[in-house]
């Protein structure tokens, strides 16, 4: 019957985002009763190494919410072409259009709302699917009622939407919450963007939201203006349901700077709108030709993929624990525990697109073998690119491509550099003062050279069309002699030694030292 369209990203937009979003997702799912109903969440521009927002809070969602939710992930690289036009990190119109394009065509209605809304049917037991199924074609809005932060934060159990809706019915009377704020036509009500129900056919006919609106605010009013023209009127569903907004202004969100807030031009996008249509984006709205990844919370979850990958690559531990040490006298010892380290490496890559191709510079053959198994087990389809310059590594693994570094670097979306000792045996104790052999030294020297080259030339060696810097993952680069090398070239956080892994994008160090480092890297000096 209807597709709910929401958007956001895995960040901290406003006060206690995680709680109000979970409350809202669960409450929206609670009022769905048609098998075609769906919640489309566009996760816009979440950093590559983060899970999507719904994945991050999945444990707080009900089974029903997980079942009806489709997460459409828009990658930072897909947003990159718009970055210079806006101060915002998540774009409403693009997000909503991406979801609209990919919404279930069986659904008659599209409902635009936000991740802090609860919709309460006035007749208990009636679903929103029932309501929308019974009303004639039109463009419907409802007024938004505010819910003080104390109430939703203190009293709602995010996994009990039925009780939350019941509480709202009670509070609305006890605390006089229901105040309709009328507004000029075509908006009809204040805060109209929290409930705009339009026919899917109508939204396609008017070419979706206006994607020129990249500065935030008024996207809802623009839609109201255009749909009011298209339909001739704005209808209400106030007799059918009430909408409550979890107020979150204790902390201003990123797009709220008081009177200094940058906004889309009201005259252009509301008061001088002259047509419902957007012919300039008729063929491009919602990015029809762009592959948008879809993530489900009820199947093939990140956890399932992660464990499938590791189970394929490593056997369970046979001892209660193992040991290592970060004492300074062991600074030159590059031995490390691969089965312990691999989960942290996989953790760094899991959130990347499945089609990602990774360039692996490594010393240990067992690292490449194990990672290749995990990579496949996690469902990745991209190629593992292993430079010929890295000697002693396997060349016959499925999904692994060998070739000259200069050829492979242009195909890589991600880099892994593993600094270990090629001669380390699987049963060898780690960090006992082991010195590198001449073979190890030779391979490490080559690896360091490739690493410097890769970071220094990252910008000009990106695959065709790629705009954003690629990420480097360093394995076994904490508190050993490759720590300075890695962190000189890559802007990585401080990570616990135990994880053995650092990651980041190439540093842009404008100092003389930074320039020298880049020069040396570029020219392999």
């Amino acid at each position: 019957m209807f597709s709910v369209i929401l958007y956001g990203r895995n960040d901290s937009h406003g006060y206690n985002l995680h709680k109000r979003a979970a409350i809202s997702f669960n409450a929206l799912a609670e009022v769905m009763s048609d098998p075609d109903d769906e919640i489309l969440f566009v996760d816009y521009n979440t950093p590559e190494d983060h899970p999507t927002f719904p994945e991050a809070i999945h444990d707080t969602l009900t089974d029903k919410a997980k079942k009806v939710m489709r997460v459409l992930r828009v990658r930072p690289e897909q947003h990159a072409h718009l970055k210079s036009k806006t101060h915002l990190v998540a774009l409403e119109c693009q997000s909503r259009n991406i979801a609209l394009r990919r919404s279930n065509p069986n659904n008659r209605w599209i409902l635009y709302t936000n991740t802090d809304m609860l919709l309460v049917p006035r007749v208990e037991g009636e679903s929103l699917s029932d309501i929308l199924g019974a009303v004639p074609d039109g463009f419907y809005q409802i007024p938004r009622f505010e819910l003080p932060e104390m109430l939703w934060e203190a009293a709602f159990d995010r996994r009990d939407p039925a009780d939350n809706l019941r509480k709202l019915r009670d509070w609305s009377v006890r605390f006089h919450l229901n105040q309709v704020v009328h507004n000029f036509m075509p908006m009809k009500y204040d805060a109209l963007g929290d409930f705009q129900a339009a026919l899917r056919d109508d939204m396609f006919a008017i070419h979706g939201f206006d994607e020129e609106m990249v500065l935030g605010w008024h996207c809802d009013s623009n839609l109201a203006a255009r749909l009011a023209l298209y339909r001739g009127r704005v209808d209400t569903l106030i007799d059918k349901l009430f909408g409550y907004h979890c107020d979150h202004t204790r902390v201003a969100a990123a797009n709220n700077k008081g009177r200094q807030t940058k906004m889309n031009d009201q005259d252009r996008y509301i008061w001088d709108v002259s047509t419902p249509y957007l012919p300039a984006q008729a063929d491009s709205w919602g990015w029809p030709d762009v592959t948008i990844e879809e993530v489900r919370l009820d199947r093939e979850t990140s956890y399932q993929r992660f464990t499938a990958g590791l189970d394929a690559a490593i056997a369970p531990a046979t001892v209660p624990y193992t040991t290592t040490s970060l004492e300074w006298q062991l600074y030159d010892d590059l031995t490390y525990d691969l089965p312990h380290t691999l989960p942290f490496v996989c953790d760094q890559v899991l959130t990347f697109p499945r089609s990602t191709s990774v360039l692996i510079g490594a010393t240990r053959a067992d690292f490449v073998t194990s990672f290749a198994k995990a990579w496949k087990g996690m469902g990745f389809t991209g190629t593992l690119l292993v430079p010929d310059e890295c000697e002693g590594l396997p060349s016959d693994l499925p999904g692994v491509k060998r070739g000259p570094f200069k050829e492979l670097i242009n195909q890589a979306h991600l880099f892994i550099f593993e600094f270990g000792i090629a001669t380390q045996r699987p049963d060898e104790p780690v960090r006992c003062g082991r010195l590198a052999s001449p073979v190890d030294e030779k391979r490490l020297k080559m690896l360091a050279k490739l690493f410097r080259q890769a970071t220094a030339t990252e910008h000009e060696t990106r695959p065709t069309g790629r705009r954003l810097p690629r990420r480097f993952i360093g394995v076994n680069v904490i508190y050993n002699k490759y720590w300075p090398l890695f962190t000189d070239h890559v802007g990585a956080n401080i990570n616990p030694f135990c994880s053995q892994v650092l990651a980041g994008i190439p540093r842009e160090d404008p100092s003389l030292r930074g320039k020298v480092l880049r020069f040396r890297g570029r020219h392999a000096v």
């Binding site: 009303v135 004639p136 074609d137 039109g138 000029f184 036509m185 075509p186 203006a225 009011a228 023209l229 298209y230 339909r231 001739g232 009127r233 209808d235 209400t236 106030i238 007799d239 005259d267 509301i270 008061w271 001088d272 709108v273 002259s274 047509t275 419902p276 012919p279």
Partner: protein
Amino acid sequence: MTDVGILSKLSESLRVKWRERSGPNRKAGDGKPKADTEADKLFLRARVIARSGDIDMALRLYADAAALSPQFDAAVEAQGELLDLAGRREAAMAKYAEARRIRAAMRQGAPDRPFAVRHRGNFRAEVSSYDTVLGSLKKNALPYIARGNAYLAGGKPAQALLDYEHALKLKPGLLDVQAIKAEALLAMGKYDEALTTIDAVVTARPSDSEALSTRSVALMGLGRLDDANADLNRQLALLPTSQATARACIALRLAAYELAHAELDSVIAKHPEDAYWRLYQATARLRLGQPLTAAQAATPDSWPALLLSFLFGRASEEEVLAQADSDGRRAEAWFQFGAHQVAHDPESAKRRWRQIVDYAAPSMIEHAAARNELKRIGA
């Protein structure tokens, strides 16, 4: 006496006066334009009274407005809103449901026509809302355009034209407004002027399918059938196959029944409840010499199902005409009479179709189809 009290008292006397003027035996719909105007006035008065807090008086005024103009959904919905505010939930819900029934029963204009002329119903509430906006925002185009559209949909093209011209003064050369201005001119029967206006739009936007529709109507009104057909064909070529309803309408205008029949198959699959599509499919089958199927039959008690019954031989011309209570319905009836007669009595069919050309609005599907039928049989 407070100001509110004076207002209520005045409203009550106005209400009584209007009732008396309407007469004891007045039938709903008699003298419709005047009744609509009176209903509009009552509606506006009710709004003011409602804001002043006299809910009972406002309810009475809204009820009177709805009684005068039974299609006045906004007056019915406003009663619902007031009853809801007063805590009379069940009565309120009934009024909201009634307003939606009125709206649902209102068939939108043909989907191949521009959006602004597809709206049907009473748009007094919208006019009033945009009046309010214009009290504060006088230099922006949208309120004028939206109010103009409401006037146009409410059958007041002259007032619509004033608003469109005002919008064009504010934003000279706005093609979107010129396009709907041309529609207002068409509704006023000013085909020449409409053609000049829409020509400028089509020249600037040759792929604007709605503008082509407007121009085809202007040309149809001027009797330039070949030019009108050329625009219809261009419009058809621009519309994707996903817009089957619009494509079917254009095919019907062109009397291109094979195409119409094919498009109507998918239209009916999507809108099985709409008797017009089944009627038009039956018409297409009839004109293609194909037998009518039982699936196209419908209960004969409502329009346009009665026309279907006529095609099936279950209703007479007299019975059909008895229910053809508007110019549009009469044109629809004449067209079906012609389609039914053409095989065995072409002269009668010609007469029927000629009637349409002479009396029906050129924006009607039947008008264009009748012209094309007449051309085809050499009349």
